[in-house]
Structure formats: structure tokens, C-alpha cells
Symmetry: C2
């Protein structure tokens, strides 16, 4: 690629590969707390975009950065670049362009990744009978955000949850490995209920979630003391885990992948005929949600 | 391409082509007046990005849009999309992704275009002896902005200059045609002096501008009544014309291109040994600028 310093970046895609491209904007006070450190913001701006690549099964290659800043602040920029670089270096990514502008703090990152032609994990790839899996644990970041915003009475520092909010882990390696076993994935950015809803809608299927099978962190379990706020867990944003589907005969491969990558991959339900997402307790009782997920314009 | 509705867009680049990618952010009050119409903003957000493709000689293909809006406003959105669509349709472009966010009005557009492998017009392609050309006329948008901001005493409506500010013409066809005659171009977004300075710097050469050869619109000439503010003309932003260099033997081809495309392509100076950009009057007197161009952080 031609790199920074010309009017455009010039990208060459390897033969037999397609280019996966995603863009996400982070705005102060919306996508990160106003108190977030520059380093966390830099990390997260790239992490949430990498999560989109992970959800397609793509290999990260390049990024572009559009930074809008209220003023020149060398310390802030140094921190921001440090956080960004941590993930860039981890995935050997190259910055190929972007611009800086004066205005309210806002960060737009575009990421580019390679995909073997025709192999992408897509939202419309689920079929009735498929099992639904998620990586990692759910609801941590949402709880961390409540803690930061002082929206609850709680003496527990909830540091793990706050770290999950500020430093989500893009599941790149898992997404790439899933190309061999799955046709369908999404990253959970707006809560499992809403994002699994996208899979159901695009695949013209229904999805059934077994609530007690949802993978939860020790810290979250400690906080809820078994009185789980399922609505919160299902609809809070910023998990950045993968939700994917497989046909049941791939179950053993997923077990193996869990061990290889030292990551929890948990079966949480199944794809059925019909439409919409239903959430069921072990005793058969259904949970009806009063809202479906994080929405910036709500 | 997979299109909107999945985690990433998937782009396939034709054999023997590279992908040219550019991104630009427009912030209210910085890149367009707070009074600008939604339609003009939509048009300009794409135009300034297409101008970057034009400067490489690329053929527009796709765009992505990240829109940050203070609130839901259907009328504003309708106008914005109408302006954006005008250029999308003109260049048969497809919207392949993006996101919307709540916050201070800000628009980031990424454009993707095709380039025959290894043929791009680059900033570092100029050589001593080359002639320097610009398309269209210079300084109109800058004058239009002064008018809008009420920074001057002037009864003339300057509508042409204001239109040039709000509706710049990306020189796509010219950029593509130049691939046959030129190796070096840039689009003039920050004023000729600064942008020609990038060519000089990247090409390790100097550039000499003959002031009286600069192409000026009738409206601008009428306004200045022969008392030209050269500093303003050379350093005001938003022209979005092309500045390119050719070897002298290509002169006839440029004449032909002018006729074919019905566009003014004017020789304004030459590339020399040395460094920096010098501006000379017909009588040999040099103009020394007190600042070099538009800079958002100045």
C-alpha cells in the first residue's frame, strides 16, 4: 500500500482473497465514559472495529483513522496512540491513512481484513436445527458501565467488568478458526438479544435462548448473588463477544477449538423455524423483554 | 460486495486493479458553515472524498458513511441523502456500510476506487523540467466563504463563489484521463501553495508559480478589480481542483484533453531543482506569503 502521505491509500488484495471492510465511530459520552483514559479510548476504537472483522472470520491487515479533537493535546494523543498501537502491533496492522479535524472528540476507525473468497461468516447463514454459541461471558461491560455511571448501590469495585468495558477482546483468532465449522456469526455489540435478533431476521429463522446456559463471569455472578437481571444481561452493550451457529455434528470441533484457544465457547440455544428471539428459563417459563437492546437514538 | 446489513462489507477488486481508499471527516462550523443546507452538506461530504480519488486517477466504486447527528431529524436526513445521492448516482457508486451515532454533527465518508495496478498519480512523481498545471479556477471557494462569514464589505452576491464552496466539482474524469500523460497529481483542498508544497516535498524538487498565469473566475476578477489578494487566492481552501505535472512534450495532449472534457487546464509554473514553492510576478518580483495554507489547528 502507498501509505500515509498521498491523497489515497492504495491497497493490494492477495489473489483468492476478498477485502472485508468495517467502520465504527466512537463519540465521547456515548461510546466511552467522559472519564475514560486516552489509552483506553485508543484501544477501544480499534477493538470494536476488529470485533467486526472477527465476526466475518477475517484476518486484520490495515486501518484508517479519522480523529476529531477539541484542541491540540500532546499528552492525550500520546496515550491514544499507545492504546491503539497495542492492538495494531498484536495483529501486525498498518495505518494507511486518515485525517485529523478540530471539533468535539470523536474517533472513526476503518479496518480492512482478508477473507478467503466466498468463505465469510454471515448473518444470514443460520438454519433451523443449528446450535447457537457465544464466546466468553456476557453482560460484564454493561455492569461495568452501570458502576462507572454510579447507577447502582454497590461496594464491589467491579474492576473486571470495568476492564471488559474499556478493553474488550476482539475474537480474531476464534473468528478465523470458525471459517472451518460455521457459516454464521455476528459480534455482540448491542446486547445478545438484539444481535442474535439480526441473525434470526437475516436468516429468516427464529432463535431460542436458554437463559440458565448463558455464560457469566464470576464477578457478575457474585454481584447478582443468583438474582440475575436477565434483561440487563441480554440487552446491555459492549460485550464484543462472538455469537455464532453450527450444525450439531460440529459440536466436537467446537470443544476442540475451546481447548486450542483457551476460550469459553458455550452453547446457549438453538435456531428454529419461525421468527424472532425467545428467551426461556429452565422451568419453561418465558422471559419477555421490555426493550430489545442498546440504541443510540433511544 | 456483501452490502449493508452484515458486520463488514466484502469488496472484490477486479484482476489487474488496486484499490484506492480515502477518508475525510466534515465537522459543522469547520468544513461547512453552520448555515449550510443538509443537501449541500451531503453533496460536499462525498465530493471532497471523490476529489482524493480524482487526484490518484481512480474510478469511484463504493462508499461508507459514518454519520454523527445531534438528534433524529427526518427532514435533515432526507436533504443530506439527496445531496449525497446526486454524486453517488453520477458515479454509479454503491453504499456498502457505515454507522450512525448521536453527538455533535460530524460526517465521515470513505471512498473506494479502482486503479490499474502501478499507474496511480502520486505526489512524489514530479521531476525538474515538468510543467505544473491546475484544472478549473482557484480561490473561488475561499472568497465564497469570506462572503458567507461576513468578513468583507461587498455588495456583490458572489453566488458563483458560494456555489463553488458548497458544491465543489470532483475532477474524476480528468484524473482518469491524466493516467495516460502524468505521474503526479494532488487535489487542492488546503490552497495551491500548501498542496503544491506537498508535491515539491515528496518529489524532492522545488516549484515555481507564475502568479499572473493562475486561472481565475470572472466573478473573482470582478470582485478584485485587478487588485488581486494573491495570498488569499493561494492559501484559501476548498478549491478541490487538481494540480498535476507533465513533461513538456505532453503539452499537446493536455490541450486535447481540455477540449474533450470542456475543462480549463492551465499551465501555472514549472518544477525545478531545489526545494519549496516560490511565487513570482511577471516582472520577476517574488511574493512572500505570511502563512502557507489552511490548517485546522492554527
Amino acid at each position: 500500500s502507498l501509505g500515509i502521505g498521498d491523497d489515497c491509500a492504495i491497497l493490494q488484495v492477495p489473489k483468492d482473497y476478498e477485502l472485508a471492510v468495517s467502520t465504527d465511530t466512537l463519540v465521547a459520552g456515548v461510546h466511552f465514559p467522559l472519564t475514560a483514559s486516552a489509552e483506553d479510548i485508543g484501544y477501544k476504537a480499534l477493538a470494536v472495529n476488529l470485533s467486526d472483522l472477527a465476526a466475518m472470520g477475517a484476518e486484520p491487515a490495515w486501518l484508517m483513522l479519522s480523529l476529531t479533537l477539541p484542541d491540540e493535546n500532546a499528552d492525550w494523543l500520546t496515550g491514544f496512540v499507545k492504546g491503539l498501537r497495542q492492538l495494531m502491533d498484536q495483529y501486525h496492522m498498518q495505518l494507511v491513512g486518515g485525517d485529523t479535524t478540530r471539533g468535539a472528540l470523536s474517533i472513526t476507525v476503518q479496518v480492512f481484513g482478508f477473507l478467503p473468497k466466498g468463505k465469510a461468516l454471515r448473518r444470514d447463514g443460520a438454519k433451523p436445527g443449528d446450535l447457537i454459541y457465544v464466546s466468553g461471558t456476557l453482560g460484564d461491560a454493561g455492569l461495568g458501565l452501570k458502576k462507572i455511571l454510579n447507577e447502582m448501590q454497590c461496594d464491589h469495585p467491579l474492576q473486571y467488568c470495568i476492564d471488559r468495558l474499556n478493553r474488550p477482546t476482539p475474537r480474531i483468532a476464534t473468528g478465523k478458526a470458525l471459517l472451518a465449522f460455521s457459516h454464521c456469526a455476528i459480534d455482540i455489540s448491542d446486547g445478545l438479544f438484539a444481535d442474535l435478533g439480526h441473525i434470526a431476521e437475516e436468516s429468516h429463522c427464529a432463535a431460542l435462548i436458554h437463559l440458565e446456559q448463558l455464560p457469566l463471569s464470576d464477578e457478575l455472578k457474585t454481584y447478582y448473588k443468583d438474582a440475575f437481571d436477565w434483561q440487563q444481561i441480554l440487552t446491555s452493550g459492549d460485550d464484543y463477544e462472538l455469537c455464532f451457529t453450527i450444525s450439531p455434528e460440529q459440536r466436537a470441533n467446537i470443544k476442540q477449538l475451546e481447548k486450542q484457544q483457551n476460550i469459553a465457547l458455550t452453547c446457549i440455544g438453538e435456531i428454529c423455524e419461525g421468527q424472532g428471539v425467545r428467551c426461556q428459563h429452565r422451568d419453561g417459563q418465558e422471559l419477555v423483554l421490555t426493550h430489545s437492546g442498546y440504541n443510540h437514538f433511544k
